[in-house]
Symmetry: C2
Subunit: 333 residues, 2 copies
């Protein structure tokens, strides 16, 4: 029987995850049963939301089990198939395990076409990343032409797509990021109207007011924490906040405190709503269609940070929390 390398969750991280929270083991590859496929992993997606699944607090998806493989979005090649829908040599996308080789049931797998876009794009701009940006912005943000869209974590995988979709939809788009290089890239590459480096800005409230002279109508929030406090002082009447993530506080061991949002929401008849792309599976096909069309017309650009090597997956994940990625972070095997 053949074996494969596997990355397991060894400990539930306390605060910042560490390399020692993961371990590598060698697992047996079970025999292929009727309806299953044997897959060889090509690209592995590492995402901030995986941090949530590593702790056992109740969340929108069940936690990973200790000493079992971690799973995330993966692109794999079909090595062998006992399923009539998939043929050897085809590529698939799915929620798969951090293993070099694995047997998988076919439901939940989606064929991807390497002719239409690079394989890694199906983990990013044409995958969960693009769908999160598109559906979060349109379903929760409900933007109207001419409004001002502010994006935090703007140079991240989701943020950079949100901003570009904002421009396509006719909004004024302002981004917040953490280095001058990222700020420059937001404007020159992704077409943001303005961008703010929060690490070198002393008064974020004032900086947002200057960048958004008409106030903020839609705030696409990937970070939470202090940046989002500063945004509160700049929201317009009837503004909408898309709470897509709160990476700034995911590793906090104590519950983070912030300025109370309630008085601001009452004063401005403003809304905040949590968004998780998994809640909108019925809209995924429509979203992928729209994203593919924009991509093929050259209206969407994306940045990837591609690391190499199965053994480097945990480090790539940790680097997300240091902001070491530009755009979508994937690991190529």
């Amino acid at each position: 029987m053949n074996t494969t390398r596997t990355i397991n969750l060894k400990n539930r991280p306390k605060g910042e995850p560490k390399l020692t929270d993961f371990d590598f083991s060698t697992a047996e590859i079970p025999k292929l049963k009727e309806g299953e496929v044997l897959l060889s992993t090509e690209y592995v997606s590492v995402d901030p939301y995986l941090r949530g699944r590593m702790s056992d607090a109740p969340s929108y998806i069940p936690p990973f089990e200790l000493n079992k493989p971690i799973a995330s979005g993966i692109i794999a090649e079909v090595l062998e198939s006992k399923n009539t829908n998939f043929n050897q040599g085809e590529f698939v996308s799915g929620m798969l395990q951090w293993q070099e080789t694995q047997v998988a049931k076919a439901d939940g797998l989606m064929k991807v076409d390497p002719e239409k876009a690079p394989l890694s794009a199906y983990l990013g701009i044409l995958g969960m990343t693009g769908l999160t940006a598109y559906l979060g912005l349109t379903e929760i943000g409900k933007p109207k032409k001419g409004e001002t869209l502010l994006v935090s974590g703007a140079a991240g995988a989701v943020g950079s797509v949100v901003g570009q979709i904002g421009k396509i939809l006719g909004l004024k788009v302002v981004g917040i990021a953490g280095t001058n290089e990222k700020v420059e890239m937001l404007k020159s590459k992704f077409g943001f109207d303005e961008a703010i480096n929060y690490k070198t800005t002393e008064n974020m409230t004032e900086a947002i007011a200057n960048a958004c002279p008409d106030g903020v109508d839609v705030y696409f929030d990937n970070v939470g924490g202090e940046i989002s406090e500063a945004v509160l002082f700049n929201i317009n009447k009837f503004s909408r906040t898309v709470n897509c993530g709160a990476i700034s506080v995911y590793n906090n061991t104590e519950l983070p405190k912030s300025i109370s949002v309630q008085p601001f929401l009452v004063k401005k008849s403003s809304s905040m709503q949590g968004f998780v792309v998994f809640d909108y599976v019925d809209k995924h096909p429509e979203g992928i269609k729209q994203l593919t069309e924009w991509l093929s017309r050259g209206k969407l650009k994306y940045t990837e940070t591609i690391r190499e090597g199965f053994e480097n997956i945990p480090q790539a994940f940790l680097d997300l929390f240091e902001g070491k990625n530009k755009g979508k972070m994937v690991v190529k095997l």
Copy 2:
């Protein structure tokens, strides 16, 4: 020329408002012009939201001017009319000044019928209070039969109506209030399924969990602050919070801090939205019609705290922040 007593805003309150923030003056009553009416004040509404208009921070309605009369919902009798729509001896409701007698333009005045309901009801259950409860719950809370509704400030004017409407709509209703007497009243008079005294409860998170074993689907929040923190740990997936008020923090001179809501909203795909009844004027007629129907069928009960005497209006207002009212607080002249 005749004169009338007037209550003016003397100082913008710092923190808790004080009697010395108000002063009484004698103003002249101008001559009645074509289209105007001369009104004698019968009932004056005092409401927590007036605190907001006493400070000059930007809000949903402009601040009161210093040394000018304060205004609120008032029921008045028409003493003299130069407007064909209003006759002497009729009663009207409107946003009027804290004066014993005043001249007013007729637009913005609504006739009220003392045969259909007691005059004071038009400031409460058939006025802004009832509309806030009805429209806040239905438009933002979007309750579905069988869901659990949690109401803070439940013994207050708005809260007690919210709970009753919740029961009419087929929800499980739980209230939070600050005395055992109020808790008892919520259950015996207003039909709440459960009620919690937050002042005698050590662990609110646990108490809410016990009272809402299926979690909280709709949270109608009148108070903000620590109570609302405890609610966060009990919200269900796709739950909606109606941010109707934050009386617990209105008098804070520093911006209050709370547990960050963003991670909870993301985990639960949950929403929070500020609600102000003035944003829904187009739905007021429909709302008043529905409330009048429920009231006439005996499905809605209400409690009033009626103080007497023009000179006691400021104290009645201050007492709101001490929770000295049961239900709607009005002052009868």
